[in-house]
């Protein structure tokens, strides 16, 4: 009997003192290990979708890239009335090195760039050749436009020095996969170098992207961005060729109603939109375009107030845009003027519209004294006509007519400071190349790189 106990005991003891190393291998459930995250076509495709989700965040196109250029260049058009310090500093051109939005936008843009670089580095996994081409194009598109947005905000404008040797932003074309890579200190490149990379990325993206790409960036989204880049450089020939190609594709046309593009999703007028819905959007309380711009019952903080005289002086009485795009607030801070371009949390955000292409082609043709695609008068009439705006455009517009029309048509879509800079016009008392119109490099970045990243003048 006792020997049985003995045997049982020995078995018991030897079994419980045994364990194998695998016991400690536990995989997370809401996240997956980076080493095994990308295994097939779908995974890399998902990573590109993730890239779009970063672009749609409040730090990038979800809010900051659309709102901040209109605040820093907003003199005479709009004022920040909210309690948030960071947009207030941007509006007043009194940013500190620790400006929260300058920090957030920088961080998010490089997060998107890193995502694009991981995609470019993982194309070997993708088996479907068409998908592979498309994903490479999309990654280059994301990397290109992010470098473009960064260099416009964090460097002195194109043309500020003769060879554009002023410091732009750090060019990143390699992914970060290891701890050592995460500590790498990358210095700033010159503005010219960054623009060169942007043009190279977008030009190659144009050759790779499909003509139509559902709700994602197509060849024409890349071309449209390229026209923006060229226009920013004052390269009117480039801007003309690219904007013309977008228009000539015939895939896009202006809606009959000026408000349709801001209240319906993916209309014919849109070349590329950030997609949003009820659940997934840039935010409803501390972020999001409607959050800051709207003053409707239950919607919006009404933090960005439109200067009433800007509307009354620039949109003629009867022009539908005057009444369709502006209203007197009925929600927060009621009784003042607000724009109805941004009034729903779940509405898509148009980033680039065909109207801009007409305006770019018209301006370029005027400067170059040509009529490629159409005359400036014909292009302007696309924008301004009896049906769309209930107003008429001059048959033979001047350069000033076209440029003014651009300010009116694209108002509060994140273009103002960039337009002023390319036209070398001041905002308020700040000349176009003023140091205070350039965002500070976040102090944390200077600290984290031990000064390899150099601060902008004026901070």
């Amino acid at each position: 009997m006792k020997y049985i106990y003995k045997l049982v005991l020995i078995l018991l003891v030897s079994s419980v003192f045994t364990a194998c190393k695998k016991t400690l291998d536990v995989e997370p459930q809401q996240t997956i290990d980076a080493g095994t995250a990308l295994q097939n076509d779908q995974d890399v495709n998902s990573l590109v979708v993730g890239g779009y989700s970063i672009l749609g965040g409040g730090s990038l196109y979800g809010t900051n890239l659309l709102m901040l250029p209109d605040l820093i260049g907003g003199d005479g058009t709009a004022t920040w009335r909210g309690t948030f310090q960071s947009p207030r500093q941007i509006t007043n051109k009194t940013m500190t090195r620790n400006n929260a939005d300058a920090n957030l936008t920088w961080t998010a843009a490089y997060n998107a760039i890193n995502t694009a670089n991981i995609v470019l580095n993982s194309l070997g996994i993708v088996k479907d050749p068409d998908l592979k081409t498309q994903l490479e194009g999309e990654a280059l598109f994301i990397r290109g436009i992010m470098h473009f947005e960064l260099v416009r905000l964090y460097g002195l404008p194109w043309g500020a020095t003769a060879g554009n040797t002023q410091l732009g932003v750090a060019i990143k074309t390699k992914p970060t996969n290891t701890e050592a890579e995460a500590f790498e200190k990358v210095p700033r490149n010159t503005v010219k170098e960054v623009y060169d990379l942007v043009i190279a990325d977008l030009t190659r993206a144009v050759t790779l992207l499909p003509e139509e790409n559902e709700k994602r960036a197509s060849k024409y989204a890349a071309l449209a961005f390229l026209s923006r880049v060229y226009l920013q450089q004052g390269n009117y020939a480039g801007a003309l060729a690219t904007s013309n190609e977008v228009i000539e594709s015939g895939l896009f046309k202006l809606n009959a109603s000026v408000s349709a593009v801001f209240s319906n999703k993916n209309t014919a007028e849109s070349i590329w939109e950030i997609q949003q819905n009820e659940q997934n959007n840039a935010g409803t309380s501390n972020n999001g375009m409607a959050t800051f711009y709207a003053s409707l019952p239950g919607i919006g903080r009404a933090d960005v107030r439109i200067t009433a005289s800007f509307v009354s002086n620039n949109y003629p009485v009867g022009d539908l845009r005057r009444t369709e795009w502006y209203y007197i607030g009925t929600g927060a801070r009621p009784g003042n003027t607000y724009t109805s371009k941004w009034k729903s949390f779940s509405q898509n955000l148009p980033i680039i519209r065909i109207a801009e292409m007409y305006l770019t082609r018209a301006e370029s043709n005027l400067v170059l004294n040509s009529a490629i695609g159409a005359t400036p008068g014909e292009d302007l009439a696309q924008i301004k006509n009896s049906i769309r705006t209930n107003s008429t455009a001059p048959a033979v517009p001047t350069l000033t007519d076209v440029r003014n029309e651009r300010l009116i048509e694209l108002a509060f879509e994140g273009q103002r400071i960039h337009n002023l800079k390319r036209l070398q016009q001041p905002t308020g008392s700040f000349p176009w190349n003023d140091d205070k119109l350039v965002f500070p490099i976040p102090q944390r970045e200077i600290d984290a790189t031990s000064g390899v990243l150099v601060q902008n003048p004026g901070y």
């Binding site: 997370p28 701890e179 239950g298 390899v452």
Partner: protein, 990 residues
């Protein structure tokens, strides 16, 4: 690791050879020294072994002992244990009731027990008789003021809220700072599980009356056996067990009433009008006009005079019913108990009720095997209070001007107030209810292989299910416009399997060896699912089934595992030289690939000087032991996947994508603490006076910190083991029996200190926009850092701050940040007195904290000389009026920010002395009991938080608002005070 296994097995097999040796039989009887009545259930152990028995109902026992056995040790709860030498076959013991904490009492240590006299480490012990029948919100509160070296801050008077328990200072920055909690050998879930901003306390689900003792393992020698979980100390909780003898029924009931320990004084309507008229006038405005503009009401001209601050409170109550049955025979002992406790808090809508049931059974199968199980079932309903920073926090009502009416013309709570009138949430179906179902259970089998060797295998589980539900109707702030409903389910469990082989033997008369080896496997799992619904047909529909919009939903899961090997040996030579060593190896899924296993050794030594010939015969000194220890412990609460590089999902409108979420350090590991301890245990006058003194030094390295990396690489930080911190301190305990005889007075006093210093950081952690707490190298954890307020310029009423030139300035921006306080106490402790006379007994427990600055964040709103329309504390009426006025309240200037900047203006000394509990009872005499057919009966009245002495002017000096994170100790923000509770109760035994 693999190399150790054969070693363990070898020891085991070798020991089996000793299985059957020669024995002799001994019998005897244990009796009470006072009246000679037989004591059943007394444990009888052969000295130097783990073998033994218990006395039967007539106090007698029979035991087979090895031929070489020299003595028997008798121990019994409430009595001093007694060693009797074996001479012949009859051994009787006359047991004495222990009056104070005895040196012979058995203390629970990791995976075993030890006689207090032989302990070479630092352990604080609190037993049930010290906290019986007190209306404790949760059991760990019993340690407050009773256990030296354990600093407890109740945080607030909210029921079911997490307490801060800090054993010997603060040993972490970003990992957990709470001690590791083990109940009957089962490590339990002690971190908040819920999603509320106010963290819930899983320990509140445990019935304090089920607990026999709580041991706090403080130094490395006692705690290192728990390896990577032990840096914050370990709480070993032991539940009551069955007793041999006739089955006994115990039943108890108490009921009580509670009120806030203190309410605050705010301005009445006349004072309010006066202050704000002046404040407006001083900046060229008219008070009435500004009030109308800001509130949208003309209440300035109303006759209302509402004391909004008092509206936050209600009269609370507490009641408890409990019943238990204990008993057993020579082979089976059992305890069955059940209780129901219902507490209504002093803050509106706050209520906690708890139902518990427990079965503890031990059964001796035969001469070798013993099995047993502890099963507990708990259900807790917690009607919780919102976080301090929520507009729905009832305490925030004190900001509403007294000029607003409480109710509107329709009799509903007035919604036209300056701030949200959260009394609206007391109307209709609004409810926040968190239900917890929990079991903490274990089962064990023990094999007594031979008198020296026993093997024990135990499995245990802590299984928690938390169901959170919240409904807010359409009139509430967060429920507008059409109602809000939230439902969340969390299941968290820890499964533990432990196997130990223990060896306990005396060699000759001089050598005693007590050794242990073991393995442990632990698996923790947590999963949750939540859903939010909006828009209901009316407030009578509260469940999400009736919601028009399902606005949010989520599910989640996470896991961790530990695999551990440990060993310990204690050697005693001639009953006076003590040596101890322990070693643990912990492997965890949380640790990085390159650091999967950590090892945690500890050593200790003790010398019982009073056993030496030169002291042995002293009449005064009865006991003196010097002991010291050194060892290494870890803190593994570093997050489950901190070492990994990870991808997460990110939704883009209707599709979901992948994004990088974290870059990891494959070397990431536990935080490491090396602790040195030296202590002295002493007893005088036959141990009538006894005590302990300990000095400790804890050096923590490899603190987990986020190191910033350049964002240009796509990440902003990486978590690495990089920071260092030190804690040093002294603990002193003195116990004494001041009177003996019919009138007994025993007293116990303890006092402790710790000095914390952060010695290495990546970058200082600066105070937030509202807070003062910071982390800086060379400074104590949470040091207050900010502008120093220097009072008021008598000439013009300007607020003054310390300027950069060392002189006062009225320019807040130009003033400099400086050290303005330290939230860590200088010292803290407790003083407990127990008096008994015939049937009466009186227990008075006091608790104190000295130093420990407090910062009232809400001062910026409520004590700011009428800067905005928040109602102000009455001291603000002493504002500066005329040139030459000497006051600390600046001239009121509406909207102007005179004295409104974050500064030491709202820093105060948080010292306090509190009569924590008083318990007066009467035990009915045997004569009175006989006709009632009762074994015992006790009636009592008790008071909790009876008196508080403090200079702090806020609600309660024992405060710690939870919403601003760990660094900001001692911050107050509309935080409710503790309750003063008076209870009466009865306990009977049948």
């Amino acid at each position: 690791m693999r190399k150790l296994k054969p070693l363990f097995l070898g020891i085991f097999l070798l020991s089996c050879q000793l299985l059957w040796s020669q024995t002799k039989t001994i019998s005897g009887k244990a009796t009470d020294s006072k009246d000679g009545t037989p004591l059943p259930g007394v444990s009888v152990l052969v000295k130097g072994t783990a073998s033994g028995t218990v006395t039967g109902s007539d106090g007698t026992f029979t035991l087979a002992v090895p031929e070489k056995a020299t003595a028997l040790i008798f121990s019994y709860l409430g009595y001093s244990s007694k060693e009797v030498a074996i001479s012949g076959s009859l051994v009787n013991a006359s047991m004495e009731v222990s009056q104070t904490k005895s040196l012979d009492e058995v203390v629970v240590v990791g995976y075993g027990t030890r006689i207090k006299k032989d302990v070479t480490s630092s352990i604080s012990r609190v037993t049930s008789k010290e906290f019986n029948n007190l209306p404790l919100p949760s059991f760990e509160q019993a340690l407050q003021g009773r256990a030296s070296g354990v600093f407890i801050n109740g945080g607030s008077g909210k029921l079911g809220q997490g307490l801060k328990i800090r054993v010997r200072g603060i040993s972490s920055i970003s990992a957990d700072q709470q001690p590791f909690v083990v109940i009957d050998g089962v490590p339990i879930v002690s971190q908040s599980l819920g999603s509320n901003t106010e963290p819930d306390n899983p320990l509140a689900t445990i019935n304090p009356d089920d607990i026999e003792s709580i041991e706090v393992l403080k130094d490395a020698a006692s705690s290192a056996i728990y390896g990577s979980r032990a840096s914050n100390g370990v709480l070993l909780v032991t539940t009551k067990s069955g007793k041999l003898g006739k089955s006994k029924v115990n039943a108890g009931f108490y009921t009580g009433w509670s009120k806030p320990t203190r309410k605050a004084d705010f301005l009445n309507a006349a004072q309010y009008r006066e202050l704000f008229s002046v404040a407006a006038e001083n900046v060229g405005y008219v008070g009435a006009d500004e009030f109308a503009a800001e509130t949208g009401t003309d209440d300035w001209n109303s006759t209302n005079d509402v004391n909004w601050a008092d509206q936050a409170f209600q009269d609370g109550y507490v009641r408890q019913y409990n019943a238990g049955l204990t008993g057993g025979d020579a082979r089976t002992k059992f305890l069955i108990s059940a209780s129901y406790n219902d507490q209504k808090g002093i803050v509106l809508a706050n209520r906690l009720n708890r139902g518990t049931a427990r079965i503890n059974i031990d059964h001796t199968l035969n001469s070798i095997f013993k099995i047993g199980t502890n099963i507990s079932l708990n259900k807790t309903n917690n009607y919780s209070v919102p976080g301090d920073n929520a507009f729905s926090n009832p305490l925030q009502l004190n900001a509403i001007p007294p000029l607003h009416a409480l109710r509107d013309a329709d009799g509903l709570y007035n919604s036209a107030t300056l701030y949200y009138n959260n009394l609206i949430e007391r109307e209709g179906n609004n409810e926040t209810l968190n239900k917890t179902f929990r079991t903490i259970s274990n089962a064990y089998v023990e094999a007594i292989i031979n008198p020296y060797l026993r093997f024990r295998s135990q499995v245990g589980i802590d299984w928690n299910n938390l169901q959170e539900f919240q409904f807010l109707g359409r009139r509430t702030l967060d429920g507008a416009p059409d109602g809000y409903s939230y439902s969340n389910q969390v299941t968290a469990s820890v499964f533990t399997a432990t196997n130990t082989l223990s060896f306990n033997k005396g060699f000759g008369s001089d050598h005693d060896l007590d050794a242990l080896i073991g393995t442990e496997y632990q698996k923790g799992q947590s999963s949750g699912a939540s859903v939010t619904g909006l828009a209901f047909p009316s407030d009578r529909f509260t469940k999400i089934a009736s919601a028009a919009i399902i606005s949010d939903g989520s599910s989640s899961e996470t896991q961790f595992r530990f695999l551990s090997y440990f060993a310990r040996a204690n050697y005693k030579f001639k009953d006076k030289y003590l040596l101890g060593a322990s070693y643990r190896i912990d492997g965890s899924s949380r640790f990085g690939e390159d650091n999967k296993y950590g090892s945690f050794p500890a050593f200790s030594a003790g010398w019982i000087l009073s056993e030496e010939s030169f002291l042995k015969n002293s009449d005064v000194l009865s006991f003196l032991k010097i002991r010291s220890s050194y060892g290494v412990t870890g803190n593994a609460e570093i997050g489950n996947f901190g070492s990994r590089s990870l991808y997460a999902a990110s939704a883009y409108a209707d599709v979901s994508g992948l994004v990088t979420s974290q870059i990891g350090d494959e070397k990431l590991k536990w935080e490491n603490t090396k602790q040195f301890d030296i202590g002295l245990d002493f007893g005088f006058l036959n141990n009538r006076i006894s005590g302990e003194i300990d000095f400790f030094s804890k050096k923590t390295k490899n603190l987990l910190l986020n190191i910033p990396v350049p964002a240009t690489n796509g990440y902003t930080s990486i978590t690495k083991n990089i920071g260092d911190m030190n804690n040093k301190g002294v603990e002193f305990v003195l116990n004494g029996t001041i009177f003996q005889g019919d009138f007994v007075w025993t007293s116990s006093f303890n006092i402790s200190t710790y000095k914390n210093e952060v010695t290495r950081l990546v970058a200082p952690v600066s105070p937030g926009s509202r807070t003062l707490g910071r982390l800086a190298v060379g400074a104590p954890y949470g040091q207050f850092y900010g502008r120093q307020y220097l009072g008021v310029d008598p000439d013009n009423g300007d607020a003054l701050y310390l300027g950069s030139d060392g002189k006062p300035t009225n320019n807040y921006v130009a003033a400099v940040d400086t050290i303005v306080g330290n939230p860590n106490p200088d010292f803290y402790g407790g003083w407990n007195n127990r008096f008994s006379y015939k049937g009466f007994d009186l227990d008075i427990q006091c608790q104190f904290v000295s130093g420990g600055d407090l910062y009232n964040i809400a001062g910026f709103f409520q004590s700011v000389n009428g800067d905005y329309f928040d109602n102000q504390t009455t001291d603000q009426m002493n504002y500066w009026k005329n040139p030459g006025d000497i006051t600390s309240i600046p001239q009121p200037r509406l909207y102007d920010g005179n004295g409104a900047g974050k500064s030491s203006r709202w820093v105060q000394d948080g010292s306090y002395f509190r009569v924590k509990s008083v318990n007066l009872g009467y035990n009915l005499t045997k004569k009175m009991l006989r006709p009632l057919k009762m074994e015992s009966a006790r009636i009592y009245v008790s008071a909790n938080n009876l008196l508080t002495f403090t200079d702090y002017t806020g609600y309660d000096p024992e405060v710690n608002t939870q919403y601003i994170g760990n660094v900001n100790l001692g911050h107050d923000f509309y935080t409710p005070p503790q309750a003063r509770t008076i209870t009466i109760g009865i306990n009977i035994g049948l």
